[in-house]
């Protein structure tokens, strides 16, 4: 039922709003870019549609930006997208951070009751078992009726918090020994949109006028070597960048070829942000970023 509604709305928007395309899923669950009304008939949403498409949305909008020859801003055709609850939160964050503007996107929301992991034998993703963001929070149209939300579950994080420091260290050491740093986690993250990433020593935005000196002296926060130490730092360093921004959509964990439980990190971060600063990423429109705010009355106890 929701498939028909998605297709209908996508067609209507392509026709009436002059969209560049509608980003959605095809019936086999892979991302699909519908450019014509004909294409829109292939859009679908089912339990195999696991990708967070917001990553593609940024790409589609940004690729249109720039200046024309006479120095004017290029016209950006709006882009349509189909989003689930978790995706819509990431999208709202991008809107709040002015990476996208509301007029550049057309959003078809689909309330979601969970998607399944093909590799693990069609069982629900861990993030979907108990989910507090099943319904889209920002949308132009909804493709089906809203569904009841669950309570957010932090029991897995708490289990780790209750370990002794040594246990925790061995726990993570064992996990990150397996990381091969293919960068799928950060490449798929909808809120990781930088052109240049400090976590990859060779990923530096080089322009023709970048001097050799500049290139040579770029700090190497993380070395290219793949070993437990560098991997730990890589994954630990991602966290401050996601503080108050990560919406816990679980995309990093979903794409990890080594099946590392990366959401144990992002969920902890989310829990901390909530507990310490009473802040939740993308919980309202126009929210200020956590790290760009400061309060005199923030907790001071840990400081000597």
């Amino acid at each position: 039922m929701s498939d028909e509604k998605i297709r209908e709305e996508a067609k209507k928007a392509l026709r009436e709003r002059g969209l560049k395309c509608v980003i959605g899923w095809s019936a086999d669950g892979t991302p699909f870019f519908a450019e014509t009304e004909e294409d829109a008939d292939k859009l679908s949403f089912n339990e195999h549609c696991a990708n967070n498409l917001v990553t593609y949305l940024t790409q589609e909008v940004r690729s249109q930006r720039g200046k024309t020859r006479d120095g004017k801003d290029k016209i950006v055709k709006p882009v349509g997208i189909v989003v689930r609850g978790c995706d819509s939160k990431a999208l709202r964050l991008l809107l709040n951070e002015n990476i996208l503007s509301r007029s550049e996107v057309f959003i078809i929301g689909v309330p979601c009751t969970g998607v399944v992991d093909k590799r693990a034998g069609d069982v629900l993703y861990r993030k979907c078992v108990k989910c507090a963001m099943r319904n889209p929070v920002v949308y132009d149209v909804l493709a089906s009726d809203q569904v009841p939300e669950d309570e957010k579950d932090y029991s897995e994080v708490e289990a780790i918090e209750n370990m002794s420091p040594e246990e925790r260290w061995t726990f993570w050491e064992e996990i990150f020994a397996d990381c091969i740093r293919c960068h799928a986690c950060k490449r798929s993250c909808p809120v990781c949109y930088c052109d240049e990433c400090l976590l990859d020593p060779t990923d530096v935005a080089i322009r023709p006028d970048t001097t050799a000196d500049e290139k040579a002296h770029r700090p190497r926060w993380v070395e290219r070597s793949v070993n437990v130490r560098e991997n730990l730092v890589y994954h630990l360093a991602r966290m401050p960048h996601l503080a108050g921004r990560c919406v816990d959509c679980g995309e990093c964990e979903r794409v990890c070829p080594q099946r590392l439980p990366l959401r144990l990190l992002t969920a902890k971060l989310e829990k901390d942000v909530k507990k310490i600063f009473n802040y939740e990423a993308a919980c309202e429109d126009g929210q200020k970023p956590l790290i760009a705010m400061s309060k005199m009355e923030d907790e001071n106890e840990f400081i000597m």
Partner: protein, 341 residues
């Protein structure tokens, strides 16, 4: 005793026997459910061996580690002093490799040791390794397509010893001289094959020749289409989905690109690199010939199916299907090549 039988209950004994003289790598299921090769006795025990599926991680890192220190350097009294790494002299055996991965090893051999320049770091590791291959009985999983790339579920290229699963035992065949010698060493655990077992083994080979049961396939005519579709807009459409991560290349048994960096503490380190990363082709001059995702993705497919075929006469893809299984965006190499226009 180049043709013999190894009972399945004796695999453990045989492996332990092999383990006396060499390091043995066996496929095991790790904590997260991935099957990968681990060192017997150190990281894996014989009881965990998992031989009934294609491992999720290819064995390429045993010969071509993801991170390899080439040498260390230090400044001593105004002079730079180099300290070379010491090659590991122990013999190694990789047990239970699938034919696609075995062929991949011989493809890698061509890359690193086949031409005018020999990669000594690769060579010294490779020459210690003997491969025990287990023939597949048809496709190992839904993503396999080895017959399309010139491979076969029973391909013996690159193997030292070949094993065929004939029910309650393995039919064992020594392929290389080294393999035959290794079999002599484990003769205590081997028996003579019965005519019935011979028949079963022949049946597996016959079935493989017909390439039946493979859901995925690339038609040779679609590969020839690559000749004329370099500038096709098709690559932009395909690349839209790609996230530019390195999953496909890092899990590919034949992807062999690397990067060399000097790292803290005075080490020159060679690490895997991926052609999908945006700075893969960045020149010192700041010019980057492949800035767009579409160019990078296209290059991967062309390298696998055209450039290498033109220069060495064989595909650089062995049809293991791991990139299909692992692509976060669901890109399917067989589909991409089949739909080239």
């Amino acid at each position: 005793m180049s043709k013999s039988i190894l009972r399945k209950e004796k695999v453990a004994d045989a492996l332990n026997a092999l383990g006396h003289a060499s390091i043995v790598y066996i496929p095991i299921k790790n904590k997260r459910g991935l099957v990968e090769y681990r060192e017997l006795g150190k990281e894996a025990s014989v009881a965990d061996i998992k031989l009934d599926c294609k491992p999720d991680v290819p064995p390429k890192a045993i010969m071509f580690p993801q991170t390899q220190v080439l040498f260390a350097f230090k400044r001593v009294g105004g002079k730079i002093k180099l300290a070379p790494t010491v090659p590991d002299e122990r013999e190694k055996i990789i047990f239970g490799v699938r034919p696609c991965d075995t062929i991949a090893i011989s493809v890698m051999d061509k890359v690193f040791m086949g031409g005018k320049f020999v990669d000594s770091y690769y060579k010294v590791r490779r020459e210690k390794v003997a491969v025990f291959t287990i023939a597949c009985d048809g496709p190992a999983d839904a993503n396999c397509f080895c017959p399309s790339t010139g491979g076969s579920p029973v391909g013996t290229e690159g193997s030292d010893v070949m094993l065929y699963d004939v029910g309650d035992s393995y039919y064992v065949e020594g392929i290389s001289d080294r393999g035959k010698k290794l079999l002599e060493g484990m003769s205590a655990n081997l028996e003579r094959p019965s005519p019935d077992q011979e028949k079963k083994r022949d049946e597996i080979i016959r079935k493989a020749a017909s390439a039946e049961g493979f859901a995925k396939r690339i038609a040779p005519e679609s590969i020839t289409k690559l000749d004329s579709s370099f500038d096709s807009k098709y690559w932009d459409d395909v690349a839209r989905k790609c996230l530019s991560c390195g999953a496909c290349t890092y899990y590919c048994p034949t992807c062999h690109c690397f990067d060399i960096n000097d790292e803290k503490g005075g080490k020159r380190v060679r690490t895997w690199d991926s052609c999908q990363f945006s700075n893969f082709t960045m020149h010192t001059s700041s010019h980057n010939p492949r800035t767009a995702k579409a160019q990078r993705l296209r290059n991967r497919y062309y390298h696998k199916f055209k450039y290498s075929k033109d220069s060495t006469g064989r595909y650089l893809c062995v049809g293991c299907g791991r990139c299909i299984a692992l692509c976060p965006a669901g890109l399917d190499i067989t589909k991409v090549i089949s739909e080239v226009r």
